[in-house]
């Protein structure tokens, strides 16, 4: 027992060799991801930047007006905020950030929502996935940049990687929770009409959990971006 306590487990060495193994043997995959990712991000940023800033401001303001139930206040602050950013000469940075948020949110949804659905349907999967999610969330976001940089080098892609890892747990959790919190009666109603598993998913589960899922993903994307922007390697 004491032996065990005194003898240090060579965990750092294991991790080192693990990371080395991954970078060596999977470098092909990583570089493909890196190249494709970079291309997609650049394309998105360029597209966004191609829109004249003033037009973009108007579009976003109008969008804000409608998204927030036609309240003038939100639209007004959106406009003021955007004008201020432009005034400070940070428009290009803003477009970069928006790209990061969009891409990482998309990836988080593509991976997280199906995982959340699986988790909501099976106790076993929930019992396995939940502690992993807990572990992922206890780490500060920038920690994920270290392996990301090791795998992908420096650039936007490791940023997305870290963002995705950071925003994945809430996405999975909210999907799982959203589906599990649908009242028993509604589930019974749907079942009593003879639904199939897919019908249940698309006609009841997803429509009901939709708000739960999307209300969290975008704020989390933003949160992680803010978190990362102060640590992100210069590019």
């Amino acid at each position: 027992m004491l032996d065990f306590l005194q003898q240090e487990i060579p965990l750092p060495n294991w991790i080192d060799s693990g990371v080395n193994w991954l970078t060596e043997h999977w470098s092909g995959l990583f570089s493909i991801l890196q190249t494709v990712g970079e291309a997609v991000m650049n394309f998105t940023t360029n597209t966004l930047s191609a829109v004249p800033p003033l037009l973009m401001m108007v579009l976003l303001t109008v969008a804000a007006f409608f998204v927030f139930n036609r309240k003038l206040g939100f639209a007004f602050f959106t406009l003021i905020g955007l004008l201020f950013i432009y005034n400070q000469g940070m428009w290009a940075d803003l477009m970069n950030t928006v790209t990061l948020v969009i891409i990482s949110s998309l990836v988080a949804i593509v991976i997280g929502v199906p995982l959340g659905i699986l988790m909501s349907k099976s106790e076993t999967i929930q019992n396995i996935v939940k502690p992993i999610l807990d572990f992922m969330q206890t780490m500060p976001g920038f920690v994920y940049l270290i392996p990301a940089v090791a795998f992908f080098g420096i650039g936007m892609v490791p940023g997305v990687f870290a963002s995705v890892i950071f925003s994945l747990p809430p996405t999975v959790r909210m999907t799982n929770l959203g589906i599990r919190s649908i009242s028993t009666e509604l589930v019974e109603t749907s079942d009593s009409f003879g639904d199939t598993a897919w019908q249940r998913l698309f006609k009841l589960d997803l429509p009901m959990a939709k708000e739960n899922i999307f209300l969290r993903i975008v704020p989390d994307g933003l949160l992680v971006t803010r978190h990362l922007s102060s640590h992100q390697p210069a590019h």
Binding site: F193, G194, M208
Partner: protein, 405 residues
């Protein structure tokens, strides 16, 4: 043969269900089984049949297993043992696909809190069953609109459930089940979340509907008055067992055990007892064979001032008061000439609660008629009041009198 037959249906919750099941078969009580195995018996060896066009009420307090029982019928809860036959098929042994077909086409359910999907409009809710069945958009819309129209809700079809009152929401729930046009309707405390006035309306609507569509309705409730009002037959449940099955009257007048008797003691009798239960034998005069002298003598003997006039077939002709009998004797008129023809008639099935108003506005007793419009008795004010205060024994006595008459 009945289309819905439940045989030895048992549900055990928890672990060690096999052991618990053995104990159920040995006839051990729920309490004993819980103590020995830790398993809870939800439904305990239940058997019953439901006939076509019948509203079969399963009644019990919370925890009596009634909601579990109804869910065993469409297998929202898996039975531990026993069978549920719908037509010739045993639902409890069906594959998932067969079960799905039964749920889609044969059995539908209405829920206590309406079970409406909040993100769907009223119409989309009403379409749900048909949508699941894969009915084309046009056809299902048309059927759903028809169902909504029948419940007078068509103008609300584009609203969302939360915009409707509770009563209207449950009408949508019912319309949704009816749009599916299945033969069996399970209603789990369907009206319990509604306030009393609305609930009454819904009960009336359900009875009216049942006259038209003649479905097999299995209705769960904890409210005995509701059970008595709408049920053709009632199954009274306690601790997962059925205590008694019978018509409302059978259960009230012939309780199978103390539990049933206690349960039925608080019933509002005015809603259960009919004119036939409380009527007294009618004092009559036969207008074809008897004259004013006989009438006056009978009044004197019975110490009343009025007789009902009938012919040989006991068809009601009117009422005869002492004054008009005297008038007939003095002026040598026939009885038929002096009769008061305005006697209030009521059917033998009229509920006491409905008789109240009539009797307080009527100077004469009410004549109780059978289905062939023959006089079978009278209801006087005293008998109505008596019926309201009597306990079970009193009612039985009164019925004895009626049988003698």
């Amino acid at each position: 043969m009945s289309r819905v037959r439940v045989r030895n249906l048992t549900k055990v919750f928890g672990k060690r269900t096999q052991q618990a099941l053995e104990m159920v078969k040995e006839g051990k009580s729920k309490q004993e089984i819980l103590e020995q195995t830790g398993a809870t018996v939800g439904v305990h060896n239940v058997s019953f049949d439901v006939e076509d066009g019948e509203i079969f009420v399963i009644m019990g307090l919370s925890g009596s297993g009634k909601s579990t029982l109804v869910r065993l019928i469409n297998r929202l809860i898996e039975p531990t043992s026993g069978s549920v036959y719908i037509n010739e098929d045993d639902v409890s042994k069906m594959s998932k696909d067969e079960l799905r077909q039964v749920r889609r086409t044969k059995v539908n359910m209405v829920f206590q809190n309406f079970g409406l999907f909040p993100k769907r409009t009223v119409l989309e809710n009403a379409e749900y069953g048909l949508e699941i069945r894969g009915v084309g958009k046009k056809e299902r819309q048309q059927k759903a609109e028809q169902a909504l129209d029948n419940s007078g809700l068509l103008s609300y079809k584009d609203q969302y459930p939360e915009q409707l009152s509770g009563g209207m929401q449950q009408r949508v729930g019912l319309a949704r089940a009816l749009a599916n046009d299945s033969e069996i309707l399970l209603m789990d405390e369907a009206f319990s979340a509604l306030d009393p006035l609305i609930r009454r309306d819904m009960q009336d609507d359900l009875l009216e509907l049942q006259e038209k569509v003649q479905k097999i309705i299995i209705f769960i409730t904890h409210d005995l008055n509701e059970a008595l009002r709408i049920g053709n037959r009632i199954a009274l449940m306690r601790d997962g067992k059925i205590m008694q099955i019978g018509t409302g009257e059978e259960i009230l007048t012939n309780p199978a055990n103390d539990f049933v008797r206690e349960f039925t003691e608080d019933v509002d009798r005015s809603k259960v007892l009919t004119a036939e239960n409380i009527m007294e034998p009618a004092l009559t005069i036969n207008v074809e064979t008897e004259g004013p002298n006989v009438a006056l003598q009978r009044m004197r003997k019975e110490e009343v001032s009025m007789l009902l006039a009938v012919d040989r077939k006991r068809d009601l002709k009117g009422s005869l008061t002492a004054e008009s009998a005297l008038d007939a004797r003095k002026n040598e008129k026939k009885i038929t000439e002096v009769l008061d023809k305005n006697v209030q008639k009521i059917s033998k099935d009229a509920l006491v609660t409905d008789i109240f108003d009539l009797i307080y506005n009527s100077p004469t007793p009410l004549a109780v008629m059978n289905e062939n419009d023959r006089l079978i008795g009278v209801v006087v004010r005293g008998s109505v009041i008596g019926a309201m205060t009597d306990k079970t024994e009193g009612t039985a006595e009164k019925e004895g009198v009626n049988i003698d008459a």
